[in-house]
């Protein structure tokens, strides 16, 4: 993952959120979706993405399906039931974190 170290801690949440919004996604698609949504501000490298995906799969939050597409095999990731619950938790956690940080760095703004 390039750009800021601040993004690194949120990678799992980003993946879960994207998968929550679509039925299934493959690795390259996730990197491109993030690039598109952030207008190129955030670029996820395969060095960061795949270990995170494999970890989420090992934890039972994602399930995998392999399909033949365009002369090759493609691995699709989909949220499991536990993955859907974890997405809600992670997004709440992130919202709390953002709110806390906002209170710290610009208290006036958060009071308005």
């Amino acid at each position: 993952m390039s750009n800021s170290k601040l993004y690194k801690g949120s990678l799992t949440t980003i993946i879960l959120k994207l998968l929550n919004e679509s039925d299934k996604m493959y690795g390259y698609e996730i990197t491109q979706k993030v690039k598109e949504l952030t207008k190129g501000e955030l670029k996820i490298t395969e060095g960061a993405l795949y270990p995170a995906l494999h970890k989420l799969e090992a934890e039972g939050l994602l399930e995998v399906e392999v399909k033949k597409v365009d002369n090759r095999l493609r691995k699709y990731y989909r949220l499991t039931e536990n993955g859907e619950k974890e997405t809600v938790n992670k997004l709440n956690e992130l919202a709390n974190y953002i709110s806390t940080m906002q209170n710290l760095v610009s208290p006036k703004l958060s009071l308005e």
């Binding site: 493959y26 690795g27 491109q32 270990p51 090992a58 392999v66 002369n71 090759r72 691995k75």
Partner: protein, 213 residues
């Protein structure tokens, strides 16, 4: 939308295989990532040949891909060890462990130490070889080299050669005979746990790869 042909995909696959990314279940994902990236570049107007784009991609990313693969192997080993312990703590595992402990307890109390050790070592060897054969059969039947199955086999071979056959010695263990029974029951059970783990991974892979098997 231009797509890479079979030969080009095979070229990427062979290159990665020769670069020590030997496990098919891992390689397929990297092949797809690289191929999709190259296709995107071609469709965005890149006039270079497939080989030139691929070469440039590998110059930029090869070390990252290889480091990633090393990390993946370590993570897989951890996953196998975790699954082994989960198998031990499962209903079947606990049942096996208690039965094994009970058999050893009977043996140690009703047999002479020499006879007990002889039966113990030979049955242990028989279980180890039998399980090795069964794991090899599970592994041989696969079309793809699955990472977790092969790493389980590597760890199992390390176990066979690394764990010496622990015999019972009354003067050494003394009043700690129950500690010996627990350790031995666990060591005798380990091959069975490895087999259960290998079968679990094989079943998981069959679900994931069902559309192409």
């Amino acid at each position: 939308m231009e797509k890479l042909n079979k030969e080009e995909i095979q070229f990427i696959d062979n290159y990665l295989d020769n670069s020590d990314i030997v496990y098919g279940d891992v390689r397929l994902e990297i092949v797809d990532h690289i191929a999709t990236d190259i296709e995107c570049q071609i469709n965005a107007g890149d006039n270079r040949s497939f080989y030139d784009i691929f070469k440039a991609y590998m110059i930029d990313n090869k070390s990252l891909i290889l480091n990633n693969h090393k990390a993946f192997k370590k993570a897989t080993d951890k996953k196998i060890i975790k699954t082994l312990f989960n198998q031990l703590l499962s209903f079947k595992g606990i049942l096996f462990f208690i039965s094994m402990g009970f058999i050893l307890y009977i043996g140690i109390n009703y047999l002479e130490v020499k006879t007990f050790n002889r039966i113990l070592i030979s049955s242990e060897l028989l279980i180890q070889i039998g399980v090795l054969v069964l794991i090899l059969i599970t592994y041989k039947k696969n079309k793809i080299r699955y990472s977790a199955l092969e790493r389980a086999l590597v760890l199992y071979v390390i176990y066979i050669f690394g764990v010496f056959n622990l015999k019972y010695n009354a003067s050494f263990w003394g009043e700690f005979v129950y500690v010996f029974l627990l350790v031995k029951a666990f060591l005798v059970m380990l091959p069975i746990l490895f087999l259960m783990t290998a079968i679990k991974f094989k079943n998981d892979y069959e679900i994931k790869f069902k559309s192409i098997l």
